[in-house]
Structures are given as structure tokens and as C-alpha cells.
């Protein structure tokens, strides 16, 4: 894609739930699985802790993509934090899409602590998709 500047690598902020996806990332590391190094991981106690504001802020500060990953439905350490998170997330994503923010830039997923390879594959996919889109400029703090 010509949108991709030479040597440009996307920056992606990943909000990972402490109880699952963060451990999944750990496992991927311990298992020496290779995945792209574009992540900036922020550990959160539960995906339900994510405020839509964090996602918007991250985009505004110039990240190219945001990933939120929590426990699988039914496995949330706090019972249903992830299901509430899904609603908040769907809501935010819906209106960001409305304003022309590509859906691939903000992604939501479930990864458990034992899914090291799933985590690696997910990151591969997210990074690829964001690369395809090119750098995010739309929300970056400018005039407003």
C-alpha cells in the first residue's frame, strides 16, 4: 500500500487485562513466540476498567491503533467486567466509525492466560491491519 511510509512502523497501545491477556502475552514471551514489537502494553485490572476516554486519548496522542483485550466471556475475574466493556466499546467504536475513524484502528478481543499463541497471532493481525491503514492522523491533537 502506498499509504505506508517507508520504514514506518505503527504504534499500538494495548490495554491488557491482568488476569488473562496480560498473562497470555507473558506466555507468548516465555514460549519465545515471535510477534511484531509494535505494542505499548498497559496492564489493567480488568477490561471493564477501560474508560472510552483512554482510547480516544491514546488516538489523540498519536497512536495508530488501540487494542483492548480481556478474558473470554464467562471467564472474567470480576464476573462480567468484560461484557460491560464490550458494550462500552461497541458504543465508542460505533460513533468513532461514524466520524471516519477506521474500525480496524480500535479492536477488541478475548485472550486467556493459556493462549500464548493466540495472543501472538492476534498481534500479528492487528499490526498488519493498522499498517495497511497507514499512520493515524485524524484524531491527533491539532487545532482542537
Amino acid at each position: 500500500m502506498n499509504k505506508t511510509v517507508d520504514n514506518w512502523e505503527p504504534k499500538i497501545v494495548a490495554f491488557l487485562c491482568n488476569w488473562c491477556s496480560y498473562a497470555g502475552a507473558d506466555l507468548a514471551g516465555v514460549s519465545r513466540l515471535q510477534y511484531p514489537p509494535n505494542l505499548r502494553v498497559i496492564r489493567v485490572p480488568c477490561s471493564g476498567r477501560i474508560n472510552p476516554l483512554y482510547i480516544v486519548k491514546a488516538l489523540q496522542q498519536g497512536v495508530d491503533g488501540v487494542l483492548v483485550s480481556g478474558c473470554h466471556p464467562g471467564d472474567c475475574h470480576y464476573i462480567s467486567g468484560n461484557l460491560v466493556a464490550r458494550r462500552k466499546f461497541a458504543l465508542l467504536k460505533n460513533f468513532l466509525a461514524y466520524l471516519g475513524i477506521e474500525p480496524e484502528r480500535v479492536q477488541f478481543s478475548w485472550v486467556s492466560a493459556s493462549e500464548g499463541s493466540r495472543f501472538a497471532a492476534l498481534i500479528e493481525k492487528v499490526v498488519d491491519e493498522v499498517k495497511e491503514l497507514g499512520p493515524a492522523k485524524k484524531l491527533v491533537k491539532k487545532g482542537l
Binding site: N51, R86, A90, K93, Y98, L99, K141, K142
Partner: protein, 389 residues
Amino acid sequence: MDGLDGVQRMKSTIIKVENKDTLRSLRKFLGRLMESKFVEALLVPKLLPGGDGFVQSLIKDSRMLEDANPIAPTMAVQSARILSELTSSPFDGRIGVVLKPCELRAAVEMVKFLQVNLDNVVTIGVDCPGTYEVGDYAEMVKKDRELSPQAFLEGASEGEIRPRQGYNFRECCQICEYPVPLNGDITIGLLGLDHSKEILLMAGGRFEKELAQKFSLELKEGNSANREKVIEKVTHKRREQRVKVIDELKERVNIIEKFMQTLSTCIRCHNCMNVCPICYCKECVFKSLVFEHRSEQFLNWADRRGAIRMPGDTLIFHLTRMSHMATSCVGCGMCDSACPSDLPISSLFGLIGSELQEMFEYVPGRDAAEEPPVSVFKEDELQAEAGSE
């Protein structure tokens, strides 16, 4: 809470209007509610001493009803906000509150967020033909000292509601799909009735029996066919206008650059938020440390971009507010009226909100028993939106 299933389940009766004085008959009815101790106090719009506006007033002495106007054509403050103050702690007796349809919907919405308690409140919803900006009304009165409050009901019988010559209804009223209260312990119906002769009184649910007994009302099932027709007519027209306004706005905000352009005159005074009945957090994030940046931070941003606008965070302010409460916005337009830059905030909420409300099949203020979308979930939903396989 029971009895909040909307107009259909209500029973009704006709109150005769004496000497074509609708307002007087309405006051008389309110007076009876007070004198009979059905309610201890009444919250109702009252004429300002200067005669050029109205303000919700809490009345304890029924003689003070003399210049009350339950059909006041302005909305200086959204009464759901007043209700949240008024019902914040236990009190004895019942308070009756006269509310416009959007105020009632906001109040019901706030019950869900535990900001309003309607246990000891008798909600009295009144049909609303539309409201004017406070300043416009003051001007009308200045021009015509004799302006009768009843003049504002013109066209309500046939559903041919037009604003007074030279003025327009507030934009949100022009596109409001709810000219009649959705629920309410008592509803005062004006649309589709010859208001110089009669008013419709509807009661449903929890106070129905008590009302019928105390005031020997003959409450009957069903709604008049003409009223239904007129409501449909008014709603239809407004819905058409709504689609038009929203489509136009869509063009103006459908990509983020245009969205920012549209909001570029926002001075971040927070008026829109302060008057909104739905924005209720005691500790607002915009007044928290999250938005108190360090001096170095500002300089860094300015350094990175060459220049930054001050005060900043406008975009994030609006996006956050939207993600917090677009599903509950009742479209009362208080934000528009309060905005010094004349920004179409309520239409924007209407645009984004109605899509989100549809996504969750949610109508704010329809029923207090309905959970707001962001506080509930289903096990099996939103697979696509949340990107899970």
C-alpha cells in the same frame, strides 16, 4: 415502579373548561390536588414578577397558584435537574411536579441512575406544543403586554401547531417526536381537544384509584380517536423535520475534520454539560486531574505541533460526553439554548445518540424499569462490533 407503561394503559376523563379559560381550569385542578392534600406541595412554572418569563417554583400555599402556568411556553431549566435536587433526601408527604414530556423522560432516565427518586412524587405530564427561547418569550411580552398564555395552544386541537409570527420554536422542539408525555402518574392532554371547552385528564398505575375516589373522577379506558390522530399528525411532521435536520448535520460532521470544524467555535465553557439533565456525575472527569495538564505538557504539545489551541481538549470533551450519555439523551435541547456559540449540540447528540439507541433498542425515559444500555449486557451480543470471532 409500576404504572409507567405509557399512555395506552392510562384511563382518562374530561375536565370541563369554564369561560373558555383553560389556564384557570388547569390551576383549579392543581389547586384541588393541593387542598385535598393529595400532594403537600407542587412544583410548577410560575410567572416571573416582571411578567416576561416563567420559572419552576415549589408551591406550598395553594393561593400562590394564582400566576402558575402549567403550559408555560418556555423551559428555563430542565426540571429533571430540579427534581434531582428536590428528591435527594427523604421527605414527608407527596410532591406533585408539573413536567413537559422531555422533562418527564429525563426524570425517568435519572431514576435509573439513582439521581431522582419518584417514590413520593406525583408526576403530572403536560402535552407540549413546543417551547421558545427564554429571550424570545420576553421579547414577545414586551411587544404585546396582553399576550394571553392560551395563545400558545393555538393549533393544538387540529395538530396545526405553528410558532408565533416572527418567531420559531427552539430547534429541538421543531424536531421533537414526543409532544405528549410517555408516562406519568397524571397526564394533562391538550392535543386533539378543543381546549377552550375541555381538557383531558389521564391517570394510570399507582395513583389511579386514589385519584378517582378523591375527586370522584369517572376514569375510562381508551383514548379519543381524534387525539390519537392529532398526535400522529404532529409527530409525523416533526419526524420529517428531524430527518431533514439530522441529514444536513450528517453532511457537516461525517468525517472527523468536518466534525472539528463544526465545533471549532466551542469555547469550552461547559455550559452544555452544566444544564444537561443527563450529565450528573458529582465528580466530573473534565474537572479532574485528567484534564489538568502540567505547564511542561502544554509546551511539549505546542512544540510538537508548532501551535496548539488554548483552552484545548475540545474534541475530547465532546467525544467523551457523547460516549458517556448519548444513549440517554432525551433531546431537550437545553445544551443548544445554553451554548454561547450557538452550536448544534443537541442535534449532534440526536444524530449519534439515535444510532446508538437503535443499536441497543433503547428509548431513554420510556420506562424506569428499563436498564440503561451501558449498565447491562447480554451474554451473546455485539459479536461483530466487539470483533470477537
